[in-house]
Amino acid sequence: MLITCPYCGPRDLAEFSYQGDGNRQRPDPGSTDHEAWNAYVYDRLNTAGDHREVWQHSGGCRAHLAVTRNTLTHRISSVAFAREAGHRPHERKHGGES
């Protein structure tokens, strides 16, 4: 598998670390909504199909990437810097999937 790092270009899977489901929503740091915290830490969509996820180019520029990858075919349809991705998975308090 190759992931096209926006900085380094296409690189081998061996250079990346999977940082998990990008659909999770981290509550506000001060939130006392226990269910929201639990859901964030433990519950996963586990999508069969296009899946939003976070990878780190740990064996390269070390940037975290927001990747959309199909879990049935492994085809990657988009890669962006996680910090710039419009749909930052965390810090969103409300809303469902997009």
């Binding site: 598998m1 081998d12 830490v41 075919t73």
Partner: protein, 997 residues
């Protein structure tokens, strides 16, 4: 020369003879021979024994699909089992032995298993050897007794225990177009792509480029096909943008158009070059792939079809044309398609007598008839082979008229004398890589074969792999594929002229002749047509059940010749079309790959070593080094005659009474820089860092998101906007990644940079009541007294001219200082410290003493912060700030993490004055015979010089409530049981007066 070697012809080098041995007997062949062709030329017909019945077997094929002729290659003590003789190139000194036979290939007692015949049909293991449900052989005992013998009779070649002296390597390659297969289609594709400027890799699994051009008798552009291929290769090799790889099997098609190939670099040489790997593991990232992998011929299933001398027609043609070897003096061909006729003509031309061509089809094309006549062969249309005769080789075949409607021969049997029987059951495109790439193969009733799936990655098929079998189509498809792979429109070009026979390789839908006697489908695994039908009878009808129940297609050839005949028999038994039985997905590797090659340069060097700047000093000064992850750290600096315990006790005593020095360079160190650094640390640590003054350090604790303790360490504020964080050695990488994740993904607005500076700094901890004196004696540029350097204070200065940063902090509980300097100055500064410490009795100490000192102080490490414990379990709840949220703060108080029955940290004192064992459990009541009801376990132990007792740390249910009570350690594994007192984990100087003093 032997009778089997044709007087002329073939691509071997008849001027170079090669000497080799097979089962200890010397043979001579020619350069360019495979073991198969060389032995065949020497009249050898018996190559191996089958897996289950130990039946004698000869060559079935001439290539990578060979199921029978597997041998073991010897290099001294080193053994390489299961190598197909058809791929093994001979060289001087090659030593090869046959396998799966005892005592010899010709006489194998294992063949007695055939007597069991139908008793050991498919799946028989499942129905017996269970053993009784009661009595001494109950449970698994009877089966394991039987298994012992089954295991010894199973297996093919024997592997050795000796280390392979060869080296292996990995090679990363990038190209615009990877062409797999160098037959006419592959050559055309490579040329077209190269001419358009693409970076091209052309991979060929055989020794010779050219594929079918090497064994066809066609002409291309007026010259023999093999000469045309040579010319193409010459042209390609002159181009700077083409890499030619022969002896390179592309075996894996992974995601992202990443393909893996195995290049056999030195197997064909008597001696490899300096530094040359035996095998090279290519990992190729290709923009596009042209699959020109050809097709594999299938045998037919009929009684006696496994007798040595029964060979694929195309293999015979290949032996004759490529190697100048005849499979027999007198041959019969048996076919369901036109292809075998070409083989008949080739063999006749090379000097073999073709006794007859037996064709299950009643109607034969004029082209085929012409070739039969050319070969001087009697043509028996509408006939089939009903059996073979002979001992270890075919001597005659039985022919009968064939009824295509029921698959059975009938009528008069005729016996034809022949020493070889050449069969063709049609062709299966070699679609393996395309299937690996994803996508479902498509069944073609016309070809009785699975065709390429729709492409799910960027590949294009060309040549026989597409199910188009003529050379002229291969040339055209190859050219088009080369163009398409480089992108852009096709350009008109005149393709080479081909003079071919115009044969039709579409087979009649007949793959089996039913009759009396064993008819083999999978030769290596001895799966017969009856086994397939038995599987059907027992309900194992889906293709995967068929495979698994009968082991059809599971042998080293992975069903290359057996899958389609097996499916055909199952389909017939079920009364359905072959496609409805299904096909299995092809999985990597396409052909077996040496495990060493995939380990590549890591073979013999599995992990790198991480060394501290003072590593050589430690080794020179007698340290016993200890592997901690990838790091090496001194365990003890033993003196002659000392036990480990004596050494660490001496070292620890020195620290408590005078001073010691320990290398702490392995601690993870992370530069946390930027205007929001303090804010960031407040969020990741449970305690506050924004309040830490510049020039001071603070002990910090991190939790995971789920509220479990993660890591601890001190973090130093070097400047308003700059911190130096330290982590435990083991967690350095994980902590770095954890922090980077939060900074990048969760809090991208924070202006903070994280950089690993673990390797920038050498660290030495100087500990003990005289530690300050040591520093005072060697540090310049700063004072180190209590005013200048209070507890947790940081100063900068120099030692022996090297800049240092000193923080007064303590892990041992003594007055102690961590001295950091540039790593390149590590040994220099260490030596200066040693020099300064010498008059004060300073000793270097290792991990054991470090552990002893920390146990005495009750400090936790990874043994206690084990990913399951909470801050509360470790009595670190004082560090949990209530003034701010931090990672894990909302999760750490959940019901399960606050439960009273959790284990928590305590100290243990051995009451029988014997050592405690790490990993022992704690019980309230001792039961040495059947231990039970563990209430916790020992995490760390030592002899405490400070207390004069054997002590330990433990995680115990109830924790503090048990202080002052008695319990027992229970270590049945090491038979150590004994009384302990549970005490506070703060064994030594709980007020901390020594380190603050």
């Amino acid at each position: 020369m032997s009778a089997r070697r044709a007087a002329s012809g073939g691509l071997i080098d008849r001027d170079k003879t090669v000497r080799f041995t097979f089962d200890g007997r010397p043979y001579v062949g020619f350069a360019g021979d495979t073991l198969a062709s060389a032995l065949l030329a020497n009249g050898v017909t018996l190559f191996g024994r089958s897996f289950k019945y130990h039946r004698p077997r000869g060559l079935l094929s001439a290539g990578i699909d060979e199921p029978n002729a597997l041998v073991t290659v010897l290099k001294g003590d080193v053994r390489e089992p299961n190598i197909p003789a058809t791929l093994l190139e001979i060289h001087d000194g090659l030593a090869v032995v046959s396998q799966n036979r005892f005592p010899s290939l010709a006489f194998d007692v294992g063949a007695a298993s055939q007597l069991a015949g139908k008793l050991i049909s498919a799946g028989f293991y499942y129905k017996t050897f269970m053993g009784p449900a009661i009595g001494p052989l109950r449970g698994t005992r009877f089966w394991m007794f039987c298994e012992h013998f089954i295991r010894r009779s199973a297996g093919l070649g024997r592997a050795g225990f000796a280390k392979d002296p060869a080296r292996y390597e990995r090679m990363n390659a990038f190209c615009d177009v990877l062409v797999v297969g160098s037959g006419p289609a592959g050559l055309m594709a490579a040329k077209a792509a190269a001419e358009r400027g693409g970076r091209v890799i052309l991979a060929e699994l055989d020794q010779r480029f050219g594929g079918s051009a090497n064994w066809s008798d066609e002409t291309i552009d007026g010259m023999p096909a093999s000469s045309w291929a040579d010319r193409m290769i010459d042209e390609l090799s002159e181009r700077g943008n083409v890499r030619l790889l022969n002896r390179a099997t592309v075996w894996g098609y992974y995601d992202g158009n990443t393909l893996a190939a195995l290049e056999r670099v030195t197997d064909h040489k008597s001696v490899g070059g300096v530094g040359e790997p035996r095998h090279r593991h290519w990992v190729i990232r290709a923009g596009a792939v042209v699959l020109a992998t050809g097709a594999l011929e299938r045998p037919l299933v009929f009684p006696g079809n496994d007798r040595p001398g029964v060979m694929l027609a195309s293999a015979a043609e290949r032996f004759a044309n490529e190697f100048g070897v005849l499979p027999g003096e007198k041959s019969v061909l048996f076919t369901n398609n036109d292809g075998a006729y070409r083989a008949a003509a080739a063999l006749a031309k090379a000097g073999s007598v073709i006794a007859a061509i037996v064709d299950v089809r009643a109607q034969i094309s004029p082209a085929a008839k012409g070739l039969a006549a050319e070969a001087g062969a009697e043509l028996l249309a509408g006939h089939a082979i009903a059996g073979t005769e002979g001992g270890r080789a075919v001597s005659a075949v039985k022919v009968q008229p064939f009824d295509a409607t029921n698959g059975k021969p009938f009528g008069d049997t005729r016996t034809i004398q022949a020493d070889s029987l050449l069969v063709s059951g049609g062709w299966s495109p070699a679609i393996h890589l395309a299937s690996q790439a994803g996508g479902k193969p498509q069944w073609s009733a016309e070809l009785q074969a699975f065709l390429l799936p729709d492409a799910t990655q960027n590949w294009i098929g060309a040549g026989a792999v597409t199910g188009r079998f003529s050379t002229s189509e291969a040339l055209a498809q190859g050219h088009a594929a080369g163009i398409a792979a480089t992108g852009g429109p096709e350009m008109p070009v005149s393709l080479p002229d081909v003079a071919a026979h115009g044969l039709d390789l579409r087979p009649a839908p007949v793959l089996e002749v039913r009759g009396e006697g064993k008819a083999f489908v999978d030769f290596q695994h001895d799966v017969t047509a009856d086994d397939v039908r038995l599987a059907h009878r027992e309900g194992f009808v889906s293709v995967e059940h068929l495979k698994r129940y009968t082991t059809l297609g599971m042998a080293t050839d992975q069903g290359k010749t057996s899958n389609i005949p097996g499916l055909a028999i199952m389909a017939e038994a079920q009364g359905v079309a072959i496609e409805d039985v299904g096909t299995t997905r092809f999985r990597p590797p396409f052909a077996p790959v040496s495990i060493g090659a995939l380990a590549a340069e890591r073979f013999g060097d599995v992990k790198p070593e991480r060394l501290t700047p003072m590593h050589d000093w430690h080794v020179e000064h007698g340290a016993t080094m200890y592997a901690a992850g990838l790091w090496f750290r001194p365990m003890i600096y033993g003196e002659p005659g000392e036990t480990i315990e004596q050494a660490y006790v001496r070292e620890a005593r020195a620290v408590r009474s005078a001073v010691g020095i320990v290398d702490v360079s392995t601690l993870g160190k992370i530069a946390v820089q930027g205007p929001d650094a303090a804010t960031f640390l407040d969020r990741v640590y449970t305690n506050m860092f924004s309040t830490l003054p510049v020039g001071k350090a603070r002990y910090g604790l991190m939790l995971r998101e789920d509220g479990i303790a993660f890591d601890d360490g001190t973090t130093w504020r070097l400047d308003e906007n700059e911190f130096l964080m330290t982590t435990t050695t083991a967690n350095a990488g994980k902590v770095m990644q954890h922090l980077e994740y939060f900074l990048d993904v969760v809090w991208p607005d924070l202006k903070v940079h994280l950089t690993s500076v673990t390797d920038e700094w050498a660290g030495a901890a100087v500990a003990g009541p005289k530690s300050r004196d040591v520093l005072a004696a060697c540090v310049t540029g700063t004072a180190v007294d209590n005013a200048a350097l209070p507890f947790m204070g940081i100063v900068r200065g120099e030692i022996a001219g090297a800049p240092v940063m000193i923080c007064r902090l303590s892990f041992s509980g003594e007055m102690a200082f961590e001295v950091y300097c540039g790593a390149g100055h590590g040994t220099h500064v260490w030596n200066a410290l040693m020099q300064a410490g010498k008059p004060l009795g300073m000793v270097p100490y290792g991990l054991e003493a470090l552990g002893t000192l920390r146990i005495e102080k009750g400090h936790v490490t990874g043994a206690e912060i084990d990913g399951r414990t909470t801050a509360r379990d470790l009595h670190l709840d004082w560090m949990l700030s209530k003034k701010k949220p931090f990672i894990g703060s909302m999760m750490m108080d959940r019901e399960g993490l606050a439960a009273p029955e959790r284990i928590s940290l305590v100290g243990l004192v051995s009451l029988d004055n014997r050592p405690l064992n790490g990993g022992a459990h704690i019980v309230e009541e001792l039961d040495e015979l059947s231990p039970h009801d563990s209430i916790g376990h020992v995490t760390a132990t030592c002899y405490s010089p400070a207390l004069g007792r054997y002590i330990g740390l433990a995680l115990v249910k109830g924790g503090k409530a048990r202080h002052g009570t008695r319990a027992f350690i229970s270590d049945p594994l090491r038979k150590r049981f004994g009384p302990v007192e549970i005490v506070s984990h703060h064994f030594y100087d709980p007020e901390g007066s020594r380190m603050h003093g």
